[in-house]
Structures are given as structure tokens and as C-alpha cells.
Symmetry: D2
Subunit: 344 residues, 4 copies
């Protein structure tokens, strides 16, 4: 790849923005041409994220200040709800990977249902491709607009899609219990995200069928199954920075489930299926674009469990975004993404 592509990151003062910078820095063909951060416009990235101080980066500006003429692709790492209006205004020549929720739901009515507000750019929605790379690779390659998945949504789909496709589980008995690192809540100020509140605590949140990522599950699993699928889904905050670990309780044969998993991911560079009976830990993927998946049976006949884990900021968000951008810009899909996990 001899040609360097210019990218802009909108919302670079948040954790997913910083993660994009971290990844792109070692990318062989991508150059960060612009960074926006409305509330922190005018500041250097080194002030906002001292860990990036060694890198020569453009300063944070407002979106209005960016000249999109020379930009090949824009990463939108904005708070939910802002991308729709912004993407609408971008030149059509600019490709877009949105990391937020604004274009994930195909039907604007679903967007309104789950996000409580009307879609601001329903006319663009049809061209948005759902950004779960491993399952929408061909569409992503030719897309102008890719909608990154929710980080929980990605994790659970890695665990379940091959099983739904292979018809090896009971679709009416899917229970997903998630353990989520705290960075998923972003850098915004909330009392329950303070260190003293979260350290040493574990608690369920958005339980009972209220979490917005259910919109994605309903859409994707129903599409895949050809019938309505409604999973039970409970995320829990755990005292860790990064990572999502999804424990899925299923009805099905563990052997058939493991076979389906191995077969589905045989050629995937980022998905590792463990030997049957082995389970991954959340820190096995920290700082990386890998997904680890384990399958086990149970002494209760007909019961099985699948555990999938990934790094919410990387594979669950910014890594996935870069993987998609690689496809959209003609790079090798894994460029900048083969960093091994950081352990311990």
C-alpha cells in the first residue's frame, strides 16, 4: 500500500477517540489530518490525553474548522445523537465510520423507540452498513457510511450468530449475562462512575429489557433467524478499565455449538475459539482487537454455555472502526490491528 490516506477523528477528546489515535499511530498508510473536540477545542491532544504526548498530532478544533476537502475518511466518535446531523453535511466524497448509535438501527422507527428521539437523517440511513466486520465484510468494503456496532452488541453477536445460523440452539431460551469494564461509560461526569463508587463494586444496570443495545440484538438476530428473537440481557459494571465478558446460557448441545463456532471462525484473524471446555478471561484480550470464545456443556442435560470476551474500546469500538476503515480504503483488513493483548 503506497498511498497514504487522510483521516479525521470527530470527538477525539473521548476514550474511543484516543483509542483510534493509539491504533492509527502504528498504521502503515493512514495519517491523522484533523481532530475535533468541541468542548476542548484549542487544546493540544497532549493536554487532554498525556499518554499521547510523544505523538505529533493536529490540535483539537471544532468540527466547523475542519476542511474536509483533503479527508478520505471520517471517524465519528461523538456522543450518541450528534452524528446524524453532522454526517448529513459532509461532502459525499468523504467516507464515514460512525462509532456511535446513530445509524445502527435500519428502521428509523426502531431508532426512535430505543433512543427516544426522532432520527435526524432518515434519508441517509438506508446507505448505512451495519459494521460487524466479520459478518458484513463485503458490504462494508463498498460502503460510504458504516455504523459501528454497540460494544455489548458486538460481544454477544460474536457468541451467538454462528449458533443461530447453524440452528444449534433454542432461540427462545437465550440468556446473556455481561460483565462490563467501566470505560464503556465514556469520559462524561456521572456520580456512579467515580473511582470510589466503582472500585470493589459489581452491579447490574439497564436490566429487564431496557438496554438500548437490545435494539441491535432484536434487529440482527431476527434477521438472521428469519423470525423474532428476544434475548434476556443483563449488563453488570465490574471494577476493570477495559473489557466485556458475556456469559451466555443456552439450550443446545455443547459439542454441536463448539463445532459451529470453530467452523464459523476458522479463517477469522481476530476471533479465537478456545478448545471445548476452556473459558477465556477478560484480561486475555486487553488492549487488542481479538475476541476469545469458550464453549462448555453442563451437568444439566441439554444446557450449554458460551463465553465471549473482547476489549470494549478496541474490538468493541475503535478497533472495529479501524478494521472497517481498512476495508473501505483498500488497506489490508488487519493493518494497525495485530497488536498483542497487554497482560498483565
Amino acid at each position: 500500500m503506497s498511498v497514504t490516506k487522510n483521516v479525521a477523528i470527530l470527538g477525539a477528546s473521548g476514550y474511543t477517540g484516543a483509542e483510534l489515535v493509539r491504533l492509527i499511530v502504528t498504521h502503515p498508510g493512514m495519517r491523522i489530518a484533523a481532530l475535533s473536540g468541541d468542548r476542548k477545542a484549542g487544546m493540544a491532544m497532549a493536554e487532554v490525553f498525556p499518554h499521547l504526548r510523544h505523538i505529533d498530532l493536529p490540535p483539537l478544533v471544532t468540527i466547523d474548522e475542519i476542511d474536509f476537502a483533503g479527508i478520505d475518511l471520517v471517524f465519528c466518535a461523538l456522543p450518541h445523537g450528534l452524528s446524524q446531523a453532522i454526517v448529513r453535511e459532509l461532502p459525499k466524497s468523504v467516507k464515514v465510520v460512525d462509532l456511535g448509535a446513530d445509524f445502527r438501527l435500519r428502521d428509523p422507527k426502531d431508532y426512535e423507540k430505543w433512543y427516544g428521539r426522532a432520527h435526524d437523517a432518515p434519508e441517509i440511513q438506508p446507505e448505512a452498513v451495519y459494521g460487524l466486520t466479520e459478518f458484513y465484510r463485503d458490504d462494508i468494503r463498498t460502503a460510504r457510511l458504516v455504523a459501528g456496532t454497540g460494544c455489548n452488541a458486538a460481544t454477544v453477536q460474536f457468541a451467538l450468530r454462528p449458533l443461530i445460523s447453524a440452528g444449534v440452539i433454542d432461540l427462545d431460551e437465550i440468556i446473556c449475562d455481561l460483565k462490563n469494564g467501566v470505560s464503556g461509560a465514556g469520559r462524561s461526569l456521572k456520580e456512579n462512575m467515580l473511582y470510589a463508587e466503582r472500585a470493589q463494586d459489581v452491579a447490574a444496570y439497564s436490566f429487564g429489557g431496557t438496554h438500548r443495545h437490545l435494539g441491535e440484538f432484536d434487529q440482527e438476530f431476527s434477521l438472521l433467524a428469519g423470525r423474532d428473537v428476544r434475548i434476556v440481557f443483563t449488563p453488570h459494571l465490574v471494577p476493570a478499565n477495559r473489557g466485556i465478558l458475556a456469559t451466555c446460557y443456552l439450550r443446545g448441545d455443547a459439542g454441536a455449538i463448539h463445532d459451529a463456532m470453530v467452523s464459523a471462525y476458522a479463517d477469522e484473524p481476530f476471533v479465537v475459539v478456545l478448545p471445548k471446555g476452556k473459558m477465556p478471561g477478560m484480561s486475555d484480550v486487553q488492549g487488542s482487537n481479538f475476541v476469545h470464545i469458550g464453549v462448555a456443556g453442563d451437568r444439566v442435560s441439554g444446557r450449554a454455555m458460551v463465553v465471549a470476551t473482547l476489549d470494549n474500546l478496541c474490538k468493541g469500538s475503535s478497533g472495529q472502526a479501524l478494521q472497517n476503515a481498512n476495508l473501505m480504503l483498500g488497506f489490508d483488513e488487519t493493518a494497525g490491528l495485530m497488536l498483542a493483548p497487554v497482560f498483565p
Copy 2:
């Protein structure tokens, strides 16, 4: 209560031993007369547990060195498998609360099945009372030997017993996902318990129906239901010192479940049932003898969840043991146990 009772703690160099000392120190009528710790015999408790340095305590000795003549009650906080032989040798006048697994299973064959070795004192087993205070209070009051429950076993039983008794849940669809603080593994040296391995990690262990506390669940839930009950149960290690949070996925009506819970625990000093739709966090009970329980429904009709949380070292082990000892020695059940949780 004017008479002071003398107690001994066997295995005082472990975390549950230290927790007993912490609690008994503020007890109005109990005196710690002897402490054993075989590998650390000869050491002062202040050397083994510097946080207890301000307390005037007997030194650690071997069990052989203890004169049980003046002892009213013995707490056995020994590694699993050691209590059976030791309790057999104690004078019959000494009451015993065992914190280990040695006398929890009524049928020695179950002990052999789950613990992989023959019971060393099957002739004593029949007099052992299962130590879940809230449900065996009367038997405990008159018992000579009480078998403390497993900490996971206690948590899940608080969540489920009232529901099984009230007949408000489907007994064939019980899934319990546990998040466990690290101190439950005790102070023994294992690579996967090192700080660097556990900080920032979450991982399932003893999954698939292999965890030994299943012996207790099978025994207790089947007894209660009058039929075989086999739950699905997956514990996970989370990066926290203390605490177990059990998320139970059930089939049943959330309203009926909440009613049954409120009714069952109305007079219990240590069990707090939250308003319907509220869920507890693990740090809400840290350092205390309280159990917090939440109940919620789900958008999927007929589905409900119950979350129960307690401190594994206190209510799940040493606090429960003291609660039982209080009953056995004629103290107020709550003596030494009304300490509020420590937050943050």
C-alpha cells in the same frame, strides 16, 4: 447477658479466622481464649494480621496445645477436610461451628461425591445442623455442631428459598450467574490468585456443574421442593476483595416473586429486600452481615431476575458463624453483628 463465654478459633491465620476476630472484638459477651494456626504456630496474630495489632489476643498455637476444658464453643475455620477428624476428638461439652465444608452435606455419600474423599466422621454427621441461620434457626439454637454453609450456597439460597417455598418460579429453569470477590479463595498460594492475574480480569471458573457448592444446592433445594432440583450455576472471579453478587434468571412473575421475598424476610434483621425494580450493588454490604436482594421483571413475558449480594467473609462465612454461635450460646442473635457496611 452477664456471663462471658470463651471461644477458640481453629485456623485463625486465614481470612475467615481474622474476620471472626474482627467481629468478636466488639461482641459484648464473647472472649477469644485460644487461636490455632498450624503453619504459623508460635507467631503473634499481629505478625500474621497487622490490622489486628491493637487487640490483646492469645498467640497462635497448634490445635494440640489448646486446653478445651474451659472453652464453650469452637469455631473451625480450617481448610476443607480437616474438621471431621478434629471435631471427632473434641470433648462433647464443647459446641462447634464449622466454617468449612466438612459437615454441610447430610449424606456422607454426597460428601464423597463432591469432595472426592470418604467422610472421616460419618458417625457425627447426623447431629450436624445446616447453618443457614434464617432457615434453620430453631435447630441451630439447640445444636452442638453447626455446619456453616458455603458462601456461594448462602447467597443463592437467600435468593431462591422463599421462591421455591412459595411456588412462584419454574424449578426447571433456574440459572444463577455469580460474581465473586477474590478473598473467597482464601490466603493459600495459587498463581491465578496473584494480584497481577486478577486485577482487571473477570473469568468463569468451576462452571458446567462442577462446583462443589452444587452439592448443597441439590440437597437443600430438593428437600425444600420435595422433588429433585438442579440449577445451572456459574461463578466468576471479579477484581474485588469481598462480596458475592448472584444474578438469578428465573421463569415466574416478578410481582409474585417480590411479594414472596418481602413476606419471607419481613422480620429478618439482616436481610434487606429492595423496592421492586431496584438492584443492589456488591459494595452495599461490604464488611457487614447484611444481605441485599433485588427483584425485577423483564420485557420478555414470564421472565424475572433476582439479584442477591452479601459479603463472602462476613455473612457468607464468619458473620454467619457468629450469628449461629450467638444462638447456640444464648446471646442475642445480632450481638456483634450490627456493624454497618463500609462504603466506599
Copy 3:
């Protein structure tokens, strides 16, 4: 003590307010008659602090709504700068323990210098007694208004006062390096207090002689020494909920330093001096009112170090406040405060 005293806690929705409630709950003669929390007025404490749900407490109200007629003592756990105006308006019959910084500095000019604003109640300042119980016990007993010390200020004073009094250290070579748990920053919303920012991080703050507790050090150490004393003091945030550990680098003889320490604290119920050459850890005092102090020499001749550690929310703030209140109300000084540390 047969008479129950009524107390009010102003600012009960913060961490030190909750800590006061935790301690007073097991106090034999104190009753919580009122709780204020301006922004959360109207809420139950159980909503603001679920770990206190088992306790029957008055609801949070605004300060204006409190009838101080029946109140014996008020704890002011308010944000810095608010107590001066409020204390001025309280009936003179009400005793006050202020946990904030408003009355710590004897000279209102010092207050203005360190806090950047004029003192709002300079006419009351002269009656304020500096609340480091172990060193101002007699004055506190008869005081109407006691000014709780800063938590850092308390820790370092426990380490240094006996040495300054005994004349065993060089007053011009005192360097104090502090490691501070995060709860010291309170429950207010700041980006750098988010879990994801603090977990796994250690960083100095308010270094170079800018930290406000230096006002207390200057005042107290100079008073004690009879000459100006200016220490070098650098606090660091560490990823822990509770605790301050102060490492003090001194010029002096370690033997003489240890002797002075042992002698000064021989009769103190809450101060534990370790054997020479042993050092305390921050978690040795967690959740308790104890201070642990260690002394050691160095291979560099004439050099010594003292390490002091305490729980910032308890001994460093709310525990100290209760200890003072006990003296002011005629209770035993240790009432409600003999809880052993919680470890692990």
C-alpha cells in the same frame, strides 16, 4: 452513660456524612436527629447511600428545615467554605464539630491566604479548638466549636509532632511523601476522579508547596517548635478507596525517633507504634479509627524515615469528629470507635 444525645449531620450526602452515620449507628448514646443534604433534600438516605438501607434514619432535608432546639451537637460535613456562615447562625447552646477547613487556621489572614477568600465569621474563629484529639484533648472537652483537621494534616502530624516536641529531628529537612486513597476527593464530579482515570494510575497533585493543608502544618509545627517550620509535602493519588500513607524522610537518629514515638503514644487508644524497623500498610487500618506508625533507620548515616497511615474518612475525618464529639458530650472518648479494621 444513660442520657442519649441528639446530633445533626449537615452535609450527610457526602462520604464523610455517610461515614459519620456508619459510626454513630453502633454508638451507645448518640441519636441521629437530623440529616441535611441540600442538593438531595427530600431523598431518603437509602437512596443516596444504599449501604445504609437497613438503618432507620431521618430523611435528608435542607439546613433551614432543621429545628436545632433539641440538638445537642452538630457535625458540619459541608463543602469547604460553607460552615462559617452556617455556624454563625446556630444557637449558642448547640455544640459544633466542623469537618471542613473553615475553622482550622487560627488567623483569618492565613485562611484568606490558603483558601483565597475572606473568612466569613472571624468573630467566631477565636473559640474554635483545633481538633487533633490526641494533642488538644483538654481544650476539646470544654469547647463549643471544634475544627476537624485536614486528613493529610492529621496523618503527618501523627508522624511528626512527637519528634518536634522531643527535639529529635532536624526541622529544616522534613520531606513528606503521601499516598492518598481517592475518597479524599469526595463525591463531587471531576473528570480526573472517574474510575477509568484513577484505576491503575498514581500521580502527584498539589505539589510544590501549594496544597492547602500546608497552612495547618505551618501553623501547628511552628507553634510546637517555637520557630518557623516549613515542610516539603507532596500528595499522590493512588488507586485505593480509603487510606493515607505518609512516608516522612527525616534527619535524626532512628532509635531516638522510635523512643519518642513510643513514649508519646503509650497511652493512646488509637495510635499503634510498630516495633522499630517494621512498616505499616495502608490496608492495616481500613475502616477503622486507628493510626499505625513505623520507624526505620537508613544505611545513610543520620537519616531516618517514619511512615504513618490512617483511614482518611474515619480517623482522618469522621472518626476524629466523633472522637471529639464524645469528649464534648461527656461520653467515653472511644465510644463507637473501637471497630477493628476490615481486612482484606
Copy 4:
């Protein structure tokens, strides 16, 4: 660089071994040809370190099983004391980077003094080059044997060497207070390294002039200053996985110190000197080969402080080792090492 070099990692089952693998995986010209791990010989790396499961690696073998004929360079990540005998037996054609303490001290008598045992290969010691790359670059380039520095030793030397060289600090008043992440203790089993012991704790260790890295400080600083230098040095364990933050209390002018620092590191790719008055945090360098250094003055005239921070497993050990290996094998010094820090 078109030629690929073969390397072996001895002691690959420890944390520094795994870190070497993580780094070398993205190196453009290095191939891992052999991995040893005596106690875990026969196991796959994926079993010992599941986070490396996606990488095709040779299995762990015993050192005896390795054919060193095709190996260009050996990394010795062995427990202290084992490298001397092993290096002695290696073919002279094999270059060696030792990550342990075995060859750090130039004088075998110093080794005996600090490590309590005679040097096993004193005849090799003279050819060992001290591996602090930034200061011994030319010697390292041509060395056959490079002795990696201690991780504490590296951190403090980055903070102090330019100041000693420039003559801007008082050499008799150097106090270094270190905060150390837990991974520095390695993966060996020690009670005080268990999660439950370390989480929420901070404590000094090896204080008073007993820490073995003092041997390196004495050697290097005295050599640099041309006179004996003896610093005061106290490391503390903090609850974090990775990182060392050294707070150095100095006598000197902060401006001159900052100037010396900026000047010394102007061309260094891995050393970042912050603007005067700014201080780095430990998580600013996590997972990377960067060092961040801050300088500030104090209100006490003539006092200054320097804070240096690095990742103990990377820049403090394995990253430094790879940086040295790059020089020894003719690669670009930064190959495989420009990964940005992982935050949060």
C-alpha cells in the same frame, strides 16, 4: 532491514518473557525461534499465557533442549542468579541480553555484597555492558552481552543522570520515593502478592538502604559524579499492575534542573520531558516503552522535585531489552517499540 534474526527467550513463562513475545510479534525483522520455561516445559505458550493464543509460537522447552546453532540472540528472562551459569555455556557466536540482575554490577564483589552469593561467572562479567540504552548506546551496539538494568534502577537513573552530569543538584541530598506496580514482583507465589493482600493497600518494602537496586545506583551515580553518591531510596507497592513512578526530592534550582533535562533528552525517541510544573501519571506510559519526566520547584527555596514514570515490564525490562537487542543486531533502535501507551 531484509534479514530476519532468530531469537530465543529463556524464562518465557514469566511476565517479562510474555512481554518480550508481545513486543517481538510486531517487530519487522525478528523471529522467535525458541522459548524455554523449565517448570512449564512441554506446555504451549497459549496454556501459560492465554492472551498470546492467536500467535504461532514454539512450545516451551527446557534450556537443554534448545539448539543454539541457529540463534542470533538470546534474551535471558530467568529468575535472578540463574543467568551467570547459563550464559557461560552458550556458544560465543550468540549475543545475549540478560534481563536479570546477574551481570549488572561491574565488580563481582558488589554482586556478592548485594545478592548474598558469589558470582558464578566472574570471567564473563568484564564484557557485560550496562544496558541503560540512552546512556550506553555505543557500547551496547558492539556488545556480545548486555545486562539489563533493574526496573527501579532505570526509572531513577532517567530522573537523575542528566542532573548529576550537569552538576545542578546537591549529591548529598537525594531522596527517591517510588510507587511500584505489582507485576514487578513477577509471577512467583508469595502470600503478600495475592490479590486480596495488595488491592487497596500501599506499603513500603526493602526500605532503609536494603534494596538490591542500590548496588546499581551506587555504581552508576558514583561513576558519573566521580565521587561516592549514596541516595535514600524507598520503594512502595501500589495496587496497579504495571508502572513505576519515582518522586525525587532534590536540592537545586528547578529551572536549571528542567533545562538540563530538556537538553539531555532532546533527541531521545522514548523520553518525554513535560513542560516545567507539569507532572506525569503512571498510567500515561502503560504498555509502552516511553518514559515521562516532570520537574517542579517548591515554595521552600532551593528545593525541587523530579517525577519519572515508566512501565516496569516494558521500558523497565523487556522493552529496554528489545531496544538493546535492536542495536546489537543492527535493527533500527525503535523497531517494535513505538506502540502508544494503552489508556485507560
